[in-house]
Amino acid sequence: SNVCHVAAPDLAATSRPRKADKDEEEKPLQAVLVADSFNRRFFPITKDQPRALLPLANVSMIDYTLEFLTSTGVQETFVFCCWMASKIKEHLQKSKWCRPTSPNVVHVITSDLYRSLGDVLRDVDAKALVRSDFLLVYGDVVSNIDVSQALQEHKQRRSMDKNVSVMTMIFKESPPGHKTRCEDDDIIVAMDGKSKRILHYQRAQALKKLHFPMVRCLEVGSDEFEIRFDLLDCHISICSPQVAELFTDNFDYQTKNDFVRGLLVNEEILGNQIHMHVTRDGYGARVSNLLMYDTVSSDTIRRWIYPITPEANFADQEGQSCTHSRHNVYREPGVSLGHGSQMEENVLIGRNTVIGANCTISNTVIGANCVIGDNVTLDRAYIWNRVHIADNVKVKQSVICDNVEVKHGVVLSEQCVLAYNVVVGPDITLPEGTVLSMHHPDEEDDEDEDEFLSDDNDVGYSKDKTKQKVFNPAEVGSEGKGYRWKSSSLDDTEEDELAECIWGLALSADPESDSESEVSEGSHDLGSHPASPELDDVKVFQNEVHGTLQRGLDENISCDNLVLEINSLKYAYNISLKEVMQILMRVVLEFPFQQQGAQISTAQYSSHLLPLLKKWAPVFKNYVKRPQDQLDCLASMEEVFLECETHWAVLMSMYQLEILEEEGIMHWFNQGSTTDKSQQLRRNQGLLKFIKWLQEAEESSEGDE
């Protein structure tokens, strides 16, 4: 990896006390900006330009992020790039952030090896870049939140509680159905009402049923806790340096989601906590798909992110100062509007753009140096720079990238994407969700992994290649240039999902198709997310044992063969003998529940279990030999029966089948118990009777001798 300091940290500038009233010991606030999304949501657009540089209301997204960081008081920012790093670096070098007067010193760190947020943070740790608490954001976060309050709370918590709290996540209240809620990011959060500590964090997308670990909430012992579904993750977090260390320690953490879940699951072991801060007035959202792009753009135009507004020209670019007039119409200098054309509302038009006569434009952003013909209707269109649109074109909720040419009579239905340099038309109607690009979708498969490593040269190379293939006039029009990236109406291929994802999940018909893309982000929907590989194996082993026994039952396999199979499983998953026994016990005891449901009565339960126990007694006997084995076995039984103590009659049959012996049971019973529940269990009438009977039987047998 190569480190490049774009703005050499001006020692004179940094060493000088910026504010006299600031505490001498207080370290400057640092931020880690990840200028890569590590997914392909924006393909094919991001084949030519990294996501952080895509224009949002005519300003690159990364500029919004840097403006947010600077205005919230960050004095040093590390920008990590991977995909098209050189372009990002070039952009930053030209921007106001790298001027010597910038209050926020920006360092660009590039490496082709970053594959996830985890890699970046591990590198932060390896290079020891952060000295104290830092902000962690992505390069596509748009926000005006003032984090100073959250930061103060975070510091207070850390000073009070000996660095137990490692991270404060920032959320924005927005009820379900809010436009700015990203459906991919729907989350359910349980928190301690007073300390704002996060107890449970789960992505909720496409989940119909939710498993909720109440135990964990109750364990905390708090008087009140909240379960919230009205929060929008702003993707801004205040992290302590420990976060980077934790990523290093747990090399399997890839995303923030992994980290949060891993931390919460291992909370008792590691003793780390995560807290949250819900902001009231600020705005914060991440442009994670085109639907969010649409929403955030429109929020910017509607001034929700004030004081970051188009006319503020916060990026300080020459000639980009625009004027704001009624109905949120913004114009940069040199805009010309033909006779009879109307800019209805929420319109931003870039410099030197020429618009013809009788056009109707609403909720639209047009970039610089575009030419738009007569009788054009634009609604929710996002048109970037140097686009040519001929007469009689209609565009609805679509994205049109740089240098695209739309010939006359073209109609773009909703959610179309015309990637860089595409030519469309004339007189063609593109159906909903069409994605056109100069890159052939098949390139994808050819290059696959190398894709991430490729840079500008590669793009040129692929262009040559695409020339050999023929454009389909039915897809792009008789004079058109570009390939269609298949949409969901066709067969279920990989590209299909990619094209779907570009507009987010809101439109996707079946939620199953999302799973693929989600897995690539390394997240799991189910509550049974593995905390560590070890636990994973145990779980799988348990399932396998269950399957084996089921098969044994169905196909009437002999006990010897079952033992053989379980033994081979034991070696395959590297499970200790003790665990094998306990799992075996648990699986067998849970058998009736799985077949008949959890609500069966004691009588039913025993009647189902007894034949099974009789059948598999040799299997048990094979494993349960030493007195210690018996104790382990009983402990496992206890665990299962904690919930339903009436089923203890099973113990009796186990005794009768000579799986368990008298001494073992007595020993276990007299061992005493640790928790209230198991103590209560030992007071169970049925159990006491059985124990008493055992004792009497023992005495009488002694008497006989």
């Binding site: 001006d10 004179a12 500038a13 000088r16 910026r18 006299a20 600077t70 205005s71 001027r99 010597p100 007067t101 910038s102 209050p103 005006n144 924005k172 209240e173 927005s174 009820p175 379900p176 159905g177 809010h178 436009k179 700015t180 009205d230 007035d281 705005y283 509607r302 001034r303 929700w304 992110i305 004030y306 004081p307 503020a312 020209n313 916060f314 100062s321 004027t323 704001h324 007039s325 109905h327 949120n328 509302e345 929420n346």
Partner: protein
């Protein structure tokens, strides 16, 4: 920055020594580096300008900016003094060019904050005057430019500013210091006049929160008993803060919603308001709701008094559409948490109202009371006509 003409470095040394002189007078700026090398000083200056610009850009997420315009005026003037002291210039023309250039950036950073532009114009005027004085010509002749003279002189008179005077810098800084002293005292000067306008047992109405009006009322309350009705000024409701602050001084205060202004007006003896800007035609650019208040006052023939320090006087006319309005986040009008409705409606939150001059009875500034028709005269005294456009 490496190649530095000899002459300029001479200027620097002189500059820092003047700085020292002025420092002794004004304790607040003692942190000014004295023996700094030239290049470092330059970066320090541009750094300060940058931070001022970014502060301006961010200032005021609500209706009234986080700090008062008096503070902005003072900060702008102090920064201009620093530019005068530290930037490289050889004659008045160059200095004016620098200040104009930085001034354009400052006004562009926050067009709604007109005091910044006003202070730049004041300083430009000071430079003109000092230059004229150094040359020995009376400033009066420059001031009284007749129509004929304006017509015949043609192009800019800046060609005349190329002459070099040794003491110009010191003089200009001196004059800017006087301006700063004047700015410090504006609120006191205005509130001193309170007893002439507020009489016992009167009912006074005001809207929102103006620091000048607050001081004005409190000053009057030291001697007289009167009743103040405060219109709350939704959606930011600065009126609530105003009422709380007045109550602490034992002034009988009532808060009313904006919608009740007309109904209550018949009981009111006087309306006293503050403003964000006094426009060149004598009109106001004041907080939203002021127009309603002014119309109600006119209907009931209640006198409307505007407390406005001189630095709020702007050569801007109300038809300059682009910079006149200021729209902030619609959050206060329709909270972000509302959910679905947000995508179906457009919410706007404008901050300012235009109040035409015919609705205003009297301006009270730090130099006394004036009728709106006299504003144009004050304007020509304060600013040079060539500086109206920066």
């Amino acid at each position: 920055e490496i190649h530095e003409p000899e002459e300029v470095s001479v200027w620097f040394r002189e500059g820092s020594s003047c700085c020292q002189e002025t420092l002794a007078r004004n304790q607040r700026f003692t942190e000014t580096p004295v023996n700094m090398p030239g290049a470092d000083k330059e970066t320090d200056l541009s750094e300060r300008i940058e931070s001022f610009l970014s502060e301006l850009k961010r200032c005021g997420s609500g209706a009234g900016s986080l700090r008062g315009s008096a503070e902005t005026a003072r900060e702008t003037t102090a920064l201009l003094r620093r530019i005068t002291a530290q930037a490289r210039w050889g004659n008045a023309g160059e200095l004016m060019e620098i200040i104009r250039k930085e001034g354009r950036r400052m006004t562009a950073a926050q067009p709604s904050e007109t005091t910044v532009g006003n202070m730049i114009r004041r300083v430009l005027k000071i430079i003109r005057e000092e230059y004229a004085r150094s040359r020995g010509s009376s400033e009066e002749t420059d001031q009284q430019e007749s129509l004929h003279k304006l017509l015949t002189s043609g192009g800019s008179s800046e060609d005349n500013f190329r002459q070099h005077f040794t003491h110009l810098k010191a003089n200009v800084i001196e004059a800017i210091n006087e301006l700063l002293t004047e700015l410090e005292g504006t609120t006191d000067n205005i509130s001193m006049q309170a007893l002439e306008h507020i009489h016992s047992n009167e009912v006074i109405m005001t809207i929102g929160r103006s620091r000048t009006v607050e001081a004005f009322l409190k000053d009057a309350a030291r001697k007289r008993k009167f009743h103040v009705i405060v219109a709350e000024c939704a959606p930011f409701c600065q009126g609530h803060e105003m009422a709380t602050s007045l109550c602490k001084e034992d002034i009988e205060t009532t808060v009313i919603p904006d919608a009740a202004i007309f109904a209550v007006m018949s009981r009111v003896n006087k309306v006293i308001i503050g403003t964000q800007t006094v426009l060149a035609n004598g009109g106001l650019r004041a907080v939203n709701g002021t127009h309603t208040l002014a119309l109600a006052a006119k209907h009931h023939s209640t006198p409307l008094i505007v407390c406005a320090p001189m630095f709020k006087l702007s050569p801007q006319f109300p038809n300059e559409e682009d910079t006149f309005h200021k729209f902030v986040s619609p959050h206060e009008v329709l909270p972000f948490t509302e959910g679905e409705i947000l995508s179906k409606v457009n919410a706007h939150c404008p901050v300012f109202d235009y109040v035409p001059p015919e609705l205003i009875t009297l301006f009270i500034s730090n130099i006394g009371g004036n009728a709106p028709s006299y504003i144009y005269r004050l304007m020509s005294e304060l600013y040079h006509p060539e500086d109206h456009e920066l």
